[in-house]
């Protein structure tokens, strides 16, 4: 096979499936149903450079059009295609089958810790509601008539904010967190990470409300630093670090007060 042949090979081939299983077929178990349901096995032709999203797409287009799943950009920047693959939450468009396949088997399920709407699509409302609940949104007090805010990029706060700012809200960390599983009210790594970046945004004027929102049973102190969120995050954000920052901030505010007031 010459290099040009290899370069031109599509990511999955539209081979007619004639009902005869060949050695290069993947055995893919996919969750069908909602909160109740079962894993259904499909046989998917194996290809080089195949991603898990390719596999799911093949199943829906060629084998079972009733399969429900989400995707959008398919190039690893929107986070819509996040699913549980062989027990671990991942972006399916950025997961090569060859990397995670177990023999010739794959298991694809919806993201954990979120209610299932149908098959591989989950209801992400609680995820985004918790984002709001942690005051994970910006509010400033300047208007268009004021001068630009000047935030030095090398300042300590900006560097801390930048470390967590790339979050696209895919839900992988939330789906990987054991504390989310055991404490339904827990705000979760994404919401707390966003709250931390905004805590370090010197322009934001809601810091006291934000601190209050992330304190308490459902807040940052429920985190036990298992680190599953940090391990799983496809953007290499470390929510464990952000939550550690919040823990210190809130504890100090509770005991000594902070520059924005006492809790």
């Amino acid at each position: 096979m010459t290099l040009s042949n290899f370069a031109l090979e599509p990511t999955f081939q539209l081979r007619p499936y004639n009902g005869v299983m060949s050695n290069s077929d993947l055995k893919v178990k996919v969750w069908r149903g909602a909160q109740e349901g079962e894993f259904v096995e499909y046989l998917v032709p194996r290809n080089s450079n195949q991603t898990v999203l390719d596999v799911v797409t093949y199943i829906q287009r060629k084998l079972d059009p009733t399969l429900s799943y989400r995707f959008a950009c398919r190039v690893g920047m929107c986070g819509s295609c996040a699913m549980t693959v062989n027990g671990v939450a991942r972006w399916t468009c950025r997961t090569h089958v060859s990397k995670i396949v177990k023999g010739d088997s794959l298991e694809i399920a919806p993201l954990n810790n979120l209610p299932v709407i149908k098959d591989l699509a989950t209801d992400m409302r609680e995820f985004f509601n918790k984002w709001k609940g942690a005051v994970g949104f910006f509010k400033g007090d300047k208007t268009r008539h004021d001068d630009f805010a000047k935030v030095p990029p090398e300042s300590k706060e900006r560097q801390l904010a930048n470390a967590g700012i790339e979050c696209i809200g895919c839900g992988v960390c939330y789906a990987s967190c054991e504390v989310v599983e055991s404490r339904p009210n827990y705000l979760g790594p994404a919401a707390l990470n966003r709250a931390w970046t905004l805590t370090n945004d010197v322009r934001d004027v809601q810091q006291l409300e934000r601190m209050r929102a992330v304190a308490g049973d459902a807040g940052c102190h429920a985190c036990h630093s298992q680190g599953s969120c940090t391990e799983a995050c496809p953007t290499s954000i470390a929510p464990t670090a952000s939550i550690a920052g919040l823990k210190k901030l809130v504890a100090r505010a509770a005991v000594r007060g902070s520059k924005w007031g006492k809790l």
Binding site: V88, A89, P110, N112, E181, S225, Q226, G227, E231, A238
Partner: protein, 119 residues
């Protein structure tokens, strides 16, 4: 019909989770053991002889094994605890996996040291 799958061992098969699990498990066992330990030591209020009599109970082999296990649990909990303190109060340099590996060696070393000194 089954219920949808939940987080299982596959999501937890990473070093940081293992460190958390060891820390929690060792802490729980130590918390259960500690009152007994203090109870034994408080027998010293009976004076040297009374104390000696109570300590004679610990000659039983199960106690010896328990003491050895407890030293290891203490070492594990100490190492895991220091890791948490570094993560929560120190500069962020990841989940400190190097530290976890050293902690495992430290716990093994404590276990071996105990056997060496006790005999």
């Amino acid at each position: 019909m089954n219920t949808r799958p939940r987080l299982d061992f596959r999501a937890k098969s990473h070093l940081s989770y293992f460190a958390y699990a060891c820390h929690r498990f060792s802490g729980l066992l130590l918390a259960c053991f500690l009152p007994l330990h203090f109870l034994m030591l408080s027998q010293s209020l009976r004076g040297a002889q009374g104390f000696e009599q109570s300590l004679a109970l610990t000659d039983f082999w199960a106690f010896k094994f328990g003491e050895w296990a407890l030293v290891i649990l203490l070492a594990v909990h100490l190492a895991g605890g220091i890791r948490l303190l570094i993560i929560e109060f120190g500069p962020w340099h990841g989940l400190r996996k190097g530290w976890i590996q050293i902690s495992i060696l430290f716990a093994i070393a404590c276990g071996l040291l105990f056997l060496y000194f006790a005999n």
